[in-house]
């Protein structure tokens, strides 16, 4: 492929990474807020979904132009098609992160059993971050073996978020049964944490797309 194509591809990857890093940074800030039990940090999240969506549209247009001008094939084609879908996954991951911060901040209070909530919420948060960070690091990885290893790591972290969320759900339902007056707040906390679990799902989808780009086969929506 021509140098001009490679330059476009690098530009697309850099822009995708920029969105991904913004979402990861926002997630890290929320983790800090949870660890310190300082929910004001959740307010500091500078994550504009409109900006992410605009950036995603810019990248998508760049991909369409690159497809039209360079007619890539094989791995080059798989990469661009994957990137086109990854931008959408990142918009969804960003929206989940923002919604988590908003809902959690609104519902969380000292009236709730914070110890029980945070016991699994913090590990859930950590796994979500690790899943997204690892999937984004696959983007610039050229070693096929490392890509597969990273994919496996993302799958493991995503699976952990499923289990952790199941534990939280079980524990919170127990708390609700003991204190029905706070059921609304507990359900909102649960709903917020569900968004974190969904963020990890998006990370797994990104990893899946990048594995498809590297190895080929059939593209699968996850």
């Amino acid at each position: 492929m021509l140098k001009t194509y490679e330059e476009k591809k690098v530009k697309i990857e850099d822009e995708i990474l920029e969105i991904g890093n913004n979402v990861v940074e926002a997630l890290e800030l929320t983790l800090m807020g949870l660890k310190d039990e300082d929910l004001s940090k959740l307010k500091e999240i500078d994550l504009s979904i409109k900006k992410i969506a605009n950036k995603s549209n810019e990248i998508d247009n760049l991909i369409v132009t690159t497809l039209a001008l360079y007619s890539p094939e094989a791995k080059d084609l798989r990469e661009l098609v994957s990137y086109l879908k990854i931008t959408n996954e990142l918009v969804r991951a960003g929206a989940n992160t923002k919604t988590f911060a908003k809902l959690f901040r609104k519902a969380y209070s000292d009236d709730l059993n914070t110890k029980t909530i945070l016991e699994y919420a913090i590990p859930l948060q950590k796994s979500s971050i690790l899943a997204l960070q690892t999937s984004m690091s696959m983007l610039k990885e050229s070693n096929s073996k490392h890509i597969e290893e990273k994919y496996q790591r993302v799958v493991v972290e995503e699976s952990k978020t499923d289990d952790l969320y199941a534990m939280i759900e079980k524990n919170i339902l127990k708390l609700i049964s003991k204190n029905l007056e706070l059921s609304k707040e507990y359900f909102e906390v649960l709903s917020a944490l569900r968004k974190l679990e969904k963020t990890a799902d998006r990370a797994a989808s990104i990893a899946n797309l990048l594995l498809f780009a590297e190895k080929g086969g059939d593209i699968e929506q996850s």
Partner: protein
């Protein structure tokens, strides 16, 4: 753009190298080019695309007066390069062809050595003298055409001993050696394999830093990959001329869209 106007919004940031005004061409009674007006930009690659017989090669040959060699051709209009119409009576067509070099579809090295293929025209035009000066020009031209490393140890071998792709790069080196301002390319890769084609395309992208390149191609992917601007010709008319990205992603004219999507031509 039904009457072949090639003045569009993209002109503002670029320097016009060639200004074509109301160009018409007849082969006897056959009106082959209709009122072509277009600005071609300096240090850019412009691709001319269109179905066979649409006039793109005829138009290309107007840019260095190659059509003058055909008796039945009549040309009307202007081709202005650096404020001078090359069809003015006081302009010598040989000097035009020195400023505007051409690379053809089939590689056509002279039956001479690799060295002589490059040195012949500069010596003939008095651009350099035999000896060190000429050696340096040959080396520079071969380096610019990306051929030096492959031929530096066999400069006395015949040009025809090279592969097709290498021969085409030798022809490009030969063109560069006379220090042209513009390089015209008439389907420069249609006789080459994909690897040689990619080398020529990469070379075109390098050469545009120093030269203005106008290329005719039937390979639409090639136009999309290398050209900054693309002009679509049909039945002797310039149908659409714009940035390549616009032509291949959002063409304004239905005929252009039908052509590039393979629906006619």
């Amino acid at each position: 753009m039904s009457s072949g106007k090639g003045r569009t919004k993209m002109s503002k940031d670029n320097k016009v190298k060639i200004k074509v005004e109301e160009l018409n061409l007849w082969y006897g009674d056959n009106h082959a080019l209709h009122n072509i007006s277009v600005d071609l930009f300096e240090n850019k690659i412009t691709a001319l695309i269109g179905p066979s017989g649409c006039g793109k090669s005829t138009f290309l040959r107007c840019l260095n007066r190659m059509n003058d060699l055909i008796n039945i051709v009549k040309i009307d209009g202007e081709v202005v390069i650096d404020k001078k119409n090359i069809y003015d009576k006081d302009v010598d067509e040989v000097s035009v062809r020195k400023r505007i070099g051409m690379v053809f579809q089939q590689p056509n090295p002279f039956p001479k050595s690799i060295y002589d293929n490059v040195a012949y025209a500069p010596l003939k035009h008095g651009i350099v003298k035999k000896g060190k000066e000429c050696d340096e020009l040959v080396e520079t031209s071969l380096k610019k055409s990306g051929l030096w490393d492959e031929v530096k140890d066999k400069l006395n071998d015949p040009g025809t001993s090279l592969s097709g792709g290498q021969q085409q790069r030798l022809c490009i080196a030969r063109t560069i050696a006379v220090k042209p301002e513009v390089i015209l390319m008439d389907e420069p890769t249609s006789a080459l394999d994909p690897i040689s084609t990619e080398k020529i395309e990469a070379l075109m992208l390098e050469l545009k830093k120093d030269y203005t390149i106008i290329t005719v191609t039937h390979n639409m992917q090639q136009a999309a990959r290398v050209a900054d601007y693309t002009a679509f010709f049909h039945l002797g008319k310039l149908i659409e001329y714009d940035e390549t990205e616009t032509i291949f992603v959002n063409p304004n004219n239905k005929k252009t869209e039908d052509y590039i999507t393979g629906r006619f031509g």
